[in-house]
């Protein structure tokens, strides 16, 4: 092994109108050939900035203000633009997060590969074509010759990421920087891509830097890990050392915030250090509050009862029925949710789990089958006034905290909208009082009411969504991947909040996620979905300890192993 990359005392600054932001402060790192270095941190920690700085692709106005980056003994900072271009692609390859957008949609895979090969090597024409085929085969793409003529949109996400890796390998680089290479992919694809990167690293004796927010990815692939927090590297060491016995307080709280799949804990341990905002807001006595008064709670049976539900989407329209291409998004799905329990729906993307949630919420109408909420069929008399009451009892929290809030409304109006729509209060004064109590209770503080959504972070926005969902005094909450867009530490606080609210209000929850550890922490029972069908419904502990279905076992096998993590501190 030899030292491939040696970063010493690197400082990166982004001058802005409101002063300079130091994205990297005195960062020192080394990468050996043949090893995978994980660079882990939460959003805004500056980890991607380091990757970009190495190959001199910092986005304006960012610039390196100090330190050195030595690559195989040469100082990269001394190189001019042309010399740097010789390094990029040829000696340092880069892999980006989203394979959907990293390929030029108007050029064939072959054209993009050949162009890169001709730039980086002496191969031309036929030789370049042959090399392109070879590269595609190396990254596990079959029928490579025919695939050269395909366009990016004809590949699935995982295949595109393989193409991206092939492109990064085209110049036969010594170092690969992979910036969140699997974040946009499903777990099963993630496992394949990580294996591929690891294999290439060993076979070609490459140095690899994996930039990620996901401790699971680090645990699976990295040899050594560097933890970043607010532009600084707080801890570096082998994976076993850092994950098993973290020494820095940030690393400790970060690891405590990672949901565990092995045991169920009551709450996530405190992560105040990360949130940075320890100001606690007044929590109201919600059971004796207006919000705690649940209406006509006389129903004793199941909360949600779904019976033989079917829904197909038209993929390709055609005049004749036999030419239409249909997708069976939900296929004969039946399950029931008891009052007060948290029921999990698990599956990979395209499994139909979100569609089921939307069907229950009444956003789609099923082709066949019935949905009973507290014993009432929600699709009977959809227009009638009674069905409004059913919908009031059932509220939804969406995945993307950015697009699920109307940017033109103040938080007050966003949260008050359900109250006003259902005419739940007698006057505006009462509405405002309830909204400010709610905002206090979800940890935003009443002063948030007069602000607009863009003034809040992702986690805070998700709190607004929760407040909005609670405003109509629902008895069922449908959470569709409520924390997938959030950092782990923020995820932990949001999940804690949801748990608290459920206990205080006796809510029934339908919790949709692709993330098995989160499911284990949140749910009482769980249904596994695949291709629109339910494979298994079982107790959450039974599912994790003794899964019945083959697919369940497959999913559990793919879950990044966290055995390295230190034991939870109770």
């Amino acid at each position: 092994m030899s030292t491939l990359l040696d970063i010493n005392g690197l400082n990166i600054a982004f001058p802005t109108r409101r002063g300079t932001v130091n994205a990297a402060k005195d960062v020192s790192l080394t990468v050996e050939s043949g090893e995978v270095l994980g660079l882990v941190g939460e959003s805004g920690a500056g980890k991607s900035t380091i990757g970009n700085a190495i190959i001199d692709l910092l986005e304006a106005p960012g610039r390196i203000t100090g330190g050195s980056i030595r690559f195989m003994g040469e100082e990269l900072r001394d190189m001019n633009r042309d010399e740097m271009r010789q390094i990029r692609g040829k000696r340092i390859g880069m892999i980006f997060q989203d394979p959907q957008t990293s390929l030029n949609p108007l050029m064939t895979i072959g054209a993009q590969l050949v162009e890169t090969i001709e730039k980086a090597t002496s191969k031309r024409g036929r030789d370049a074509d042959a090399h392109a085929v070879e590269l595609l085969e190396q990254v596990g793409i079959t029928e490579a010759v025919a695939r050269l003529r395909a366009f990016p949109h004809q590949f699935s996400g995982g295949m595109r990421q393989r193409v991206v890796i092939a492109l990064a390998l085209a110049g036969d680089p010594d170092l690969i920087i992979a910036d969140e290479p699997t974040t946009a992919l499903d777990v099963s694809i993630q496992a394949q891509i990580l294996d591929l990167i690891k294999k290439l690293c060993r076979e070609r004796n490459l140095g690899v830097i994996i930039v990620t927010h996901d401790i699971g990815v680090i645990a699976n692939i990295a040899d050594r890990v560097a933890v970043m927090y607010r532009g600084e590297i707080v801890e570096t060491g082998t994976v076993a050392q850092v994950l098993g016995a973290p020494s820095h307080v940030y690393t400790q709280s970060l690891i405590a915030a990672v949901p565990r799949a092995d045991t169920k804990l009551d709450r996530f341990t405190s992560v105040d250090y990360i949130e940075g905002n320890t100001a606690s807001f007044r929590r109201i006595d919600i059971q004796n509050h207006w919000l705690g008064e649940t209406q006509q709670n006389d129903h004793t049976g199941t909360a949600i009862d779904v019976d033989r539900l079917n829904l197909s989407f038209v993929l390709q329209k055609a005049v004749f029925k036999r030419n239409r291409r249909m997708l069976k998004a939900v296929n004969n799905v039946s399950f029931s949710v008891q009052q007060g329990e948290t029921f999990g729906l698990v599956g990979e993307s395209g499994s139909g789990k979100s569609t089921v949630a939307r069907l229950i919420a009444g956003l789609y109408t099923p082709d066949s089958g019935t949905i009973n909420v507290f014993g009432k069929d929600v699709n009977e008399n959809r227009k009638a006034v009674e069905s409004r009451a059913a919908r009031q009892a059932l509220q939804m929290i969406f995945q993307d905290p950015y697009s699920s809030l109307n940017a033109r409304l103040r938080v007050l109006d966003i949260v008050a909208e359900p109250i006003r729509f259902y005419r739940l209060t007698e006057n505006e004064t009462q509405t405002r009082k309830i909204v400010s109590d709610l905002l206090d209770h979800v940890g935003l503080g009443a002063s948030a009411a007069l602000k607009y959504p863009h003034e809040f972070s992702g986690g805070q926005r998700q709190r607004i969504s929760i407040a909005r969902a609670l405003a109509s005094r629902p008895r069922i909450l449908i959470c569709d991947e409520p924390t997938s867009a959030l950092d782990v530490s923020v995820q932990a606080t949001i999940l804690n909040l949801l748990k608290d609210l459920q206990q205080e209000l006796g809510l029934t929850m339908l919790f949709i996620s692709h993330d098995l550890p989160v499911i284990r922490q949140m749910c009482d029972r769980v249904a596994i979905m695949r291709h629109g069908e339910i494979c298994e419904v079982s107790d959450v502990d039974t599912f994790f300890e003794a899964p019945a279905h083959d697919y369940s076992r497959h999913l559990l096998d793919l879950m990044p192993s966290m055995t390295l993590l230190s034991d939870p501190v109770e």
Binding site: M94, N104, P105, L106, K119, F151, L167
Partner: protein, 322 residues
């Protein structure tokens, strides 16, 4: 692809049906056709005879279908004023307008795209700033002001170019062209610039905005990270992606050139269909107005169809399906 084009064709037919109905209604709402055709001293019998000859007493649908039938045979009737078949008049005038539109489309496309790319790539250079601020004049000044200013500078003051009319016309069969003589080019250059300026600005700003957008995408960043040259990134990767949305606007703009040519042709006394239309409006020459309306609509429909087909050629995502 065939079903897609068939669908678009059906839509085009619908559009043309509506436009023809509108232009047909001109005959009934803009003045009395008989009064327009006969002199003041015509007798009652003469008037009735013309009414009968024109079929003005037939039911409205019969009249409309006769009108559509005639259009399909390129028969737009007689001009009230000149008493000649309208289709002959259009055929005579059309080459002048088409050549003018062609030359200004080339000017606006060429300079619009080239300057758009330049200002998109060299975002903060002085050249870009100057181009962008002068281009504002292109959008904000009315066409006729620009035309008159050009005439004043180049025809009146410098006396380099003729101020009006279409010189150096050569007959090639039935098509009269002014593009093969120096004199012809001298007379087309001012009106073509005047007509193109507005479109040029639009295309420039659109190409620039799209270019900036594309430059921010991941695949450009990834292309950089692979060490591709700036040239390859700008022209092979960025430009083609920029052009996808630009094509639509360009299509619409060429239609717009024809529409705007009314003003330009009037300013430069250019003997095209636009000038003919303005004169027809002055004299309430309904057959010419109706024919012009149908003609412009047809042009728009055809251009849009071509744009849709171009999409297929440029964008594999549409061509090959998802």
């Amino acid at each position: 692809m065939i079903s897609f084009i068939a669908k678009r064709l059906a839509q085009s037919v619908l559009v043309m049906a509506i436009v023809s109905a509108v232009s047909f209604s001109l005959f009934n709402f803009v003045g009395d056709p008989v009064n327009n055709m006969v002199g003041q001293d015509a007798t009652r019998e003469q008037r009735l005879e013309i009414r009968d000859k024109l079929g003005l007493d037939d039911p409205i649908l019969t009249q409309y279908s006769r009108f559509v039938g005639n259009i399909l045979q390129a028969d737009f009737g007689l001009s009230y004023r000149i008493k000649r078949p309208v289709d002959d008049l259009i055929a005579e005038r059309l080459p002048a307008t088409l050549e003018l539109v062609f030359v200004s489309a080339i000017i606006s496309l060429f300079f619009g795209i080239v300057l758009g790319i330049y200002t998109g790539i060299k975002r903060n250079s002085w050249g870009s700033r100057i181009i962008l601020s002068t281009s504002l004049a292109g959008v904000s000044l009315p066409t006729f002001v620009i035309g008159i200013a050009l005439i004043y500078v180049f025809a009146v003051h410098l006396r380099w170019l003729p101020s009006s009319g279409r010189g150096g016309v050569v007959e090639l069969g039935w098509w009269k062209t002014s593009l093969i003589t120096l004199e012809g080019w001298r007379s087309i250059i001012l009106p073509a610039i005047t007509l193109s300026l507005f479109q040029l600005t639009l295309i420039l700003r659109l190409v620039r905005a799209e270019m900036l957008e594309v430059m921010r995408t991941d695949y450009i960043k990834f292309a950089r990270a692979r060490g591709l040259s700036e040239r390859a990134i700008n022209f092979r990767h960025a430009l083609r992606n920029t052009l996808v949305p630009v094509i639509t606007i360009i299509g619409l703009n060429i239609g717009g050139l024809v529409a705007f040519s009314v003003v330009t042709e009037t300013v430069f006394q250019w003997p095209g269909t636009g000038l003919m239309f303005i004169q027809a409006v002055n004299f309430v020459d309904v057959p010419i107005m109706a024919a012009y309306l149908v003609f412009v609509a047809l042009l728009f429909v055809v251009i849009n169809l071509i744009v849709d087909i171009l999409y297929f050629v440029v964008d594999p995502r549409i061509r090959l399906g998802g």
